[in-house]
Assembly symmetry: C2
Homo-oligomer: 392 residues x 2
C-alpha cells in the first residue's frame, strides 16, 4: 500500500427530523448571515426549504436565497452567487440540494472568500487556501460532494467541465435526512447508485498499489450494500433503510476512505465528464453506466486478479481457478446486468452520442488530461475510440 | 437504524518514513511548545523519540519530555503532566506510544487547559468543553485512541478505572507508521487484534438497532481484514502490509464509523475494565479475549440471527437454516478458536482471576455502571456470575 493522508472533518448529522438542528448547528459554527443555495422549485414545493429557513430564523440567523442551479453546475451562476455573497455580507454558504448545488456552493464560497473568479480555480485545478464555510442539506444520494474535497464546474461558453480538488473544499457540516430523497425519480436514483459505486470502483481498480486489505474490504462492503439498497430503493422509493444506506454510502464512497493506500486516477469519470460537457442533457451517472463496463472490458487483461477479486467478493461470481479472466469478465457482465436491472443505460447510443462524435470526445478527453488519460495503460486516442466502440 | 452524528476530524498521516513531517505539521497547527509524552525506555532505544524530537527541533518548536506512562494509565502521572504543562507553557501534547500514552496525554491536555483535576472528569464521565490539542505518534495497533473521542484513566488509590467520552477528546493529528509496530511482542500483538475486533464487535452486537446495512458491511469487512492480518503479523512481525492493516483498522474500529446508526453499550469492555482495575497486570486485550466468548454464549439466544450473520459473513460458518442458533454458536466457537490460535487466553484462570473474586468483580461492575450492566438484557450480579462461570 502507498502512504496516505486522510482528514474528513465534515460533521455528519444523519436521520429523520434533523432539519430543526440546522439553525443551532450553524450558529454554533459561527454563522451570522447565510446564503441558502438551491436548484429548482422542488426545494420549495417539497417543504424542505421552508424547514431550513424556519430553523435558521429561529436561531436568529439572517439569510438570502439563490436558486437556479442546474445539473452540471455552471460557472455563470457561481459568479452571480459570489457577487451576491459579497454584497450581502454572507459568512456561510448552505447548499440545499444534490451534488450540483453543493459544487456550485463550493465555487461561490471560494470566489466570495478570495474575490477571484471561480473558473480561475477550475481551469487550473487549484483551489485557494481559504474559502467561506460550506454546509449542505442533501436531497440526492450520488455525488458525495457533501463530504468530499472536490467539486466540478462547467463553463457553458467553452463547453469545458473541470474539477477542483482541495482539502479546503470539504463542507464543515452536512445534514442527511434519507426522507428528503424519497421523491427522487427512479432514473435519478439509478444514476446515484451508479455514481456512488463508481466513486469506490475507480479507487478500487487502480494499478500497482500492492496490498490494501482493509481498504479493499471496506470498499467491497460498501459496494455490496449499495447494490442491495439500490435494488430496494428502485422497487420502493419510500424504503427508509434503503434510502439511508444509499445516502450514507454516497458520502463514505467519496470522502477518500475507500482510497486509503491506493492511487487516484478516475479515468472513467474523466472520460464521462467530456460526454456531459458536450451534451448537457447526459446525466453523469448514466454516462458512467455506459462507459464503465466498456472501460473495464478493455482494461481487465492488465489486472485480471483484481477484477476477479471484485467479481468474486462483491458480485457473487464463483472463482474459476482454471481461468481467472473468465471470473473477471463475468464480474463486469454481472455489474452491467445490474445497471440494466436498475434501468440504467449501458449502450452509448442510449446517451444520444453518435459515432461521428467519438473523435471529438477522445480529443477533448486528452486535451483536458494534457495527454493520454491515465489508467492501467495510457489511454490515447486509439484506446479511447476502442472503449467507445466497446460501449456500443 | 438510529439517527446519528459523526465527526472524525483527526488528520491521519500514514505510512513509512513519515516522522520528518511531525514538526512541520505541528507547526502548521499552531504549536509552539510541545509536551512529548511517552511510556518506557523503548521509545528512546528504538530511535523513534529521537526522530520525533529531531523533527520538532528542525521545525523550530520547543519541547519538554514526560515519560513513564504504564499500561492502564494512572491519574497520578496525568496530574504531574498537567502541572508540568502549565509550568512550561505547553500548547500541544504529543503522545508517542500506544493507547495508554495517548489516554494519559488526553487527560493532561484536559487538565492543563482547564486547571481542573483530570480525575474529576473521569469520575463523572464528563469532559470539559476545551482542551489542549493532542497529537499522537502511534506505536501499538490496539486501542484506537489515536482517532477516538474517548480515554480511560485508572485511580491507583481507589482501584477504579473510568472512561471519558467527548468530541473534544479527539486528537487533531495522528502519525501512523506501521514499521513502528514491528517490535511489538506476539502477546501484545494478539491483545491488539482482540481489542480492535472488540471495538467493532461491541458496536455490531447491540440489541434493537434495526437495519444498518452499510455499517454492518463495513464492520464485517474490517473484522475479516483484522483476522487475516492478525494471523500474518503473529507469524511474521515484520510483515508491513499486515501491520499496516492492523494499525489503520485500530483507528477505524474505534472512530465510530462502525457505530453509525447503532447503539453504544460496550458491556464486555465495561466488565473487563473491572478485571484490569483489580489486577493491574491483566492486559485489556487478554481480558476481552476471555470475556467475549462467555458473554456471547450467554447473550446469543437474545439475538440469534445477528450472531448467525456474524458467523456466516465474517467467520466463514455456513448458515444452518434448520437451526440458526447452531450457526450462531459455531461462530462464537470459531472466534474463540481464532483467539487461541493467536495465543490469547480464553479461560478466566489464565488471567490469574480466582473464583473467590467473582463476587467482587460483579459488584464492582455494577457499582461502576450504577446498576446492572446494559446489554441485550440487564446484566445484574447473577448474570455476571454466570458469564464468569462460562469463561472458566
Amino acid at each position: 500500500m502507498k502512504n496516505f493522508t486522510l482528514r474528513t472533518p465534515t460533521e455528519i448529522v444523519f436521520g429523520r427530523d434533523i432539519e430543526s438542528q440546522i439553525g443551532p448547528k450553524l450558529k454554533a459554527l459561527g454563522a451570522k448571515r447565510v446564503l441558502v443555495h438551491f436548484g429548482g422549485s422542488s426545494a420549495r414545493s417539497s417543504g424542505l426549504l421552508g424547514k431550513v429557513e424556519e430553523s435558521l430564523g429561529n436561531a436568529g440567523l439572517g439569510f438570502v436565497e439563490l436558486g437556479g442551479v442546474s445539473p452540471n453546475p455552471k460557472v455563470a451562476l457561481a459568479r452571480k452567487g459570489m457577487e451576491l455573497a459579497k454584497r450581502e455580507g454572507i459568512d456561510f454558504v448552505l447548499a440545499v440540494g444534490g451534488g450540483s448545488v453543493i459544487d456550485s456552493a463550493k465555487a461561490i464560497a471560494m470566489g466570495a472568500a478570495t474575490g477571484r473568479d471561480p473558473w480561475e480555480f477550475a481551469s487550473t485545478g487549484t483551489a485557494p487556501d481559504r474559502t467561506l464555510p460550506v454546509g449542505t442539506v442533501l436531497t440526492l444520494a450520488a455525488a458525495g460532494s457533501e463530504m468530499s474535497n472536490s467539486c466540478v464546474l462547467t463553463n457553458e461558453e467553452t463547453k469545458e467541465k473541470r474539477g477542483i480538488t482541495s482539502e479546503t473544499n470539504r463542507p464543515v457540516i452536512s445534514f442527511l435526512n434519507p426522507e428528503n430523497t424519497f421523491s427522487v425519480s427512479k432514473f435519478q436514483t439509478g444514476c446515484g447508485v451508479v455514481d456512488i459505486m463508481m466513486h469506490t470502483l475507480e479507487r478500487y481498480l487502480t494499478p500497482n498499489d500492492g496490498e490494501t486489505d482493509l481498504t479493499d474490504r471496506l470498499a467491497e462492503g460498501l459496494l455490496i450494500a449499495v447494490r442491495d439498497a439500490g435494488r430496494r430503493a428502485i422497487l420502493d422509493p419510500r424504503d427508509y433503510e434503503a434510502r439511508a444506506t444509499l445516502m450514507w454510502a454516497g458520502s463514505v464512497s467519496h470522502n477518500n476512505l475507500t482510497e486509503c493506500g491506493r492511487s487516484r486516477l478516475f479515468p472513467v469519470h474523466k472520460i464521462e465528464h467530456e460526454f456531459s460537457a458536450l451534451h448537457d442533457e447526459i446525466a453523469h451517472g448514466a454516462g458512467l453506466s455506459v462507459l464503465f463496463p466498456a472501460w473495464a472490458a478493455f482494461i481487465l487483461p492488465h489486472d485480471v486478479m483484481r477484477f476477479a477479486q471484485l467479481a468474486n467478493r462483491v458480485l457473487g461470481v464463483e472463482m474459476d481457478f482454471s481461468c481467472p479472466e473468465r471470473t473477471a469478465r463475468e464480474g463486469v457482465q454481472t455489474l452491467k446486468r445490474f445497471f440494466e436491472e436498475i434501468e440504467m443505460p449501458t449502450h452509448i447510443a442510449q446517451l444520444g452520442v453518435k459515432p461521428s462524435e467519438y473523435e471529438l470526445l477522445a480529443e477533448n478527453a486528452m486535451k483536458t488530461a494534457g495527454g493520454p488519460v491515465k489508467s492501467h495503460m495510457p489511454l490515447g486516442k486509439e484506446e479511447l475510440l476502442e472503449i467507445f466502440r466497446l460501449a456500443e
